[in-house]
């Protein structure tokens, strides 16, 4: 187990290194950020001064080495535009994104699992066909469109739900969250549902396909032949087998949802990291972009680790040992 985790960390460091090289030099090629964010009255001399201050006058390889040196000390640099450490900006915004993503995950499971179960148990009923049709729509219709339609329907036409922001916040363990106030929940509902649609469609399809396969297996027949009650056969004997593919796919998907909640956050003006990233890219705020990407890669690595551990809990045939990669 320890060796497995160590190996994972080494792989992650390699990925991080390659990623920083690509992003660092890539952004350098795109253009000079100072041109974008310095005020229009700024003369040549004033521009040069800013360049020297930010260290942009040096050759890019030198800049990269300085960046690596600082990184080794845990310093990811200061945002060009905000002038504060990049990580503090990310940490300030991240809880909002995490809350949105977790809410979306919960919605996807709470709605997707029962619907998938129903569709798997009665594949020929018209309700099942309707469920599968809806999941197809969830896959194919773009998120921004659904978000806009929801705003039009529930905010503009019906006036039931607020269209933007996080609403009233409460502080729990030093983190400000929306979901514990009624107003916050009303703000959370639409963006979370919008973000959950893709995962929900996936859960429905995986559950249905998995259930149909599992139900024909001998071990389900065996459990039934022993008179095990149906709720137990479905809810535990079949369920535990089903969860294996669902955990895999959702684990990967969840990282993506956090990392790229950009669209949903933009539509609903949700003050999360996705929106911050878009803003940072538009002004080529390199430290912030690099810091964010390092953050995302680290998160993916950790998520994969969690998935692997969940795996070994679900499937006894998987053991995290020296042989596992």
């Amino acid at each position: 187990m320890a060796e497995f985790i160590l190996r994972r960390i080494l792989q992650a460091l390699l990925v991080l290194f390659v990623m920083t090289v690509l992003v660092f030099f890539g952004i350098h090629v795109i253009g000079n950020p100072v041109d974008l964010f310095a005020s229009s009255e700024c003369t040549k001399a004033c521009l040069d001064e800013i360049m020297v201050n930010l260290g942009l006058d040096r050759p890019v390889w030198q800049q990269y080495l300085i960046f690596l040196g600082n990184l080794a000390e845990g310093d990811l640099g200061r945002s060009f535009t905000h002038g504060v450490p990049a990580m503090s900006l990310i940490w300030e915004r991240f809880p909002a994104t995490l809350e949105l993503a977790v809410a979306a995950l919960v919605i996807a499971l709470v709605i997707g699992l029962p619907l998938g179960f129903y569709a798997g148990l009665r594949p020929d009923s018209w309700i099942s066909k309707a469920i599968m049709g809806l999941s197809m729509i969830g896959f194919s219709v773009p998120i921004f469109w659904i978000g806009l339609i929801m705003i039009l329907t529930f905010s503009v036409k019906l006036g039931w739900l607020p269209a933007i922001g996080r609403g009233d916040l409460v502080t729990v363990f030093g983190v400000r969250v929306s979901f514990l106030t009624v107003d916050g929940l009303r703000h959370l509902a639409m963006p979370a549902f919008t973000l959950s649609l893709l995962m929900m469609s996936m859960v429905i399809r995986l559950t249905r396909a998995g259930l149909r396969e599992v139900m024909t297996s001998d071990y389900i027949r065996f459990a039934r032949a022993n008179g095990v009650p149906e709720y137990r056969v479905l809810g535990w004997h079949a369920m535990k087998n089903l969860l294996i593919p669902i955990v895999t796919v959702l684990g990967m998907e969840f990282g993506g949802v956090i990392a790229f909640a950009v669209v949903t956050e933009s539509i609903f003006s949700w003050p999360g990291v996705g929106k911050m990233l878009i803003d940072a890219i538009s002004v080529l705020d390199r430290p912030l972009i690099v810091a964010y990407l390092i953050f995302v890669v680290t998160m993916f690595v950790l998520l994969n680790l969690v998935i692997d551990i969940l795996y070994s809990l679900l499937d006894p045939r998987v053991r995290l040992g020296a042989g596992a990669v």
Partner: protein, 328 residues
């Protein structure tokens, strides 16, 4: 004494309407207490389907449409699914073909056995464990406490089949249906499992239906045997009578194609052709197209069951117990 299981005219079909296929057509089966009845036939003859029809675990597209299935005094066809669940595991146990597939790969042996035990007797937790350990010990599993904590993939095929047998017998059912439980095992293990099942059922007076395609197994274990062909029982009788003086040409063919029945070096005889498809059953005797003794009667008319002198019942117009051509 009344039989434990009495199946009369059982008809099971796949699908519905015009395209429905008769997979079982008028199957009769009687099993008394403590008796071992072998159900023999090729793949697709309907022997497993008979088992699943009895305990109500047919696949979704199959349905029992005719006949009666009585367990003791209970008409199983009249039961609700809920009542049927109360019968399964408690009064009718089942052992499956491939022990690698029978145990749920993601549940510990203990979880699976405990669920089976608690399905019919709400024992307190402490007693459950003791009961399961005892059940595993009865099927000859060493160190049952450790095995109980094991995952299925940590056990060998023979061991898994023992676990499956222990589970099926937890409630001492009156009837056990064993669907080719030795087919997937090594030959040496086959013998052990066979002897184990035989001993356990004899000790408890359990009636056993042993589904198999292996005549050597039939000879070794069964009291009576029913030979199935294309969804019908073509011959039924005491095992010695059927194996020594088979009345149906198909039974004769099966026996002759067993290697041990032939002199060394002789070419193994085989039954020409193949079993007809369910969608394309002949009008008369289903075996007629492959039969050397067929007559015009066999092709036009379905044979009804009739008794032979030796105690068998046979569905044949020209049984081997009568001289060839006598009826033609």
């Amino acid at each position: 004494m009344a039989p434990v299981l009495s199946v009369r005219g059982l008809t099971t079909v796949f699908g519905t309407g015009e395209t429905a296929l008769r997979a079982l057509d008028g199957v009769d089966l009687t099993v008394h207490q403590g008796e071992i009845v072998a159900l023999v036939g090729e793949s697709g003859s309907g022997k497993s389907l008979t088992g699943f029809s009895i305990n109500g675990l047919l696949p979704g597209n199959a349905k029992v449409t005719g006949g009666s299935i009585r367990l003791g005094d209970t008409d199983l066809r009249a039961l609700t699914p809920r009542q049927m669940r109360g019968i399964r595991g408690k009064q009718v146990g089942m052992i499956f073909q491939d022990p690698m597939m029978t145990l749920n790969p993601v549940l510990r042996v203990e979880t699976q056995m405990r669920d089976a035990l608690r399905a019919h007797s709400p024992l307190p937790r402490g007693e459950v464990r003791a009961r399961l350990v005892q059940a595993l010990a009865e099927v000859g599993i060493a160190a049952p406490e450790q095995r109980l904590r094991a995952w299925p993939h940590e056990l060998s095929g023979g061991m898994r089949q023992r676990v499956a047998i222990a589970t099926a017998l937890l409630h001492s059912p009156q009837l056990v249906i064993a669907d080719e439980p030795t087919t997937a095992l090594d030959v040496t293990i086959q013998g052990q499992i066979l002897a184990l099942a035989q001993r356990l059922c004899r000790d408890r007076g359990t009636a056993l239906v042993w589904i198999t395609h292996d005549l050597a197994v039939v000879a070794g274990i069964a009291d009576r045997v029913s030979v199935m062909y294309a969804g019908r029982v073509v011959e039924e009788g005491p095992v010695d009578a059927v194996l020594d003086t088979p009345a149906h040409p198909y039974t004769r063919g099966l026996i002759d194609s067993v290697a041990a029945s032939q002199p060394k070096g002789a070419r193994l005889p085989m039954i020409p052709g193949r079993m007809p498809l369910l969608s394309d059953l002949p009008q008369g005797c289903a075996f007629a197209p492959r039969c050397a003794r067929r007559s015009a009667l066999c092709i036009s008319e379905r044979p009804e069951p009739r008794a032979t002198g030796a105690g068998q019942t046979v569905r044949c117009h020209h049984p081997l117990t009568e001289p060839a051509g006598a009826a033609a």
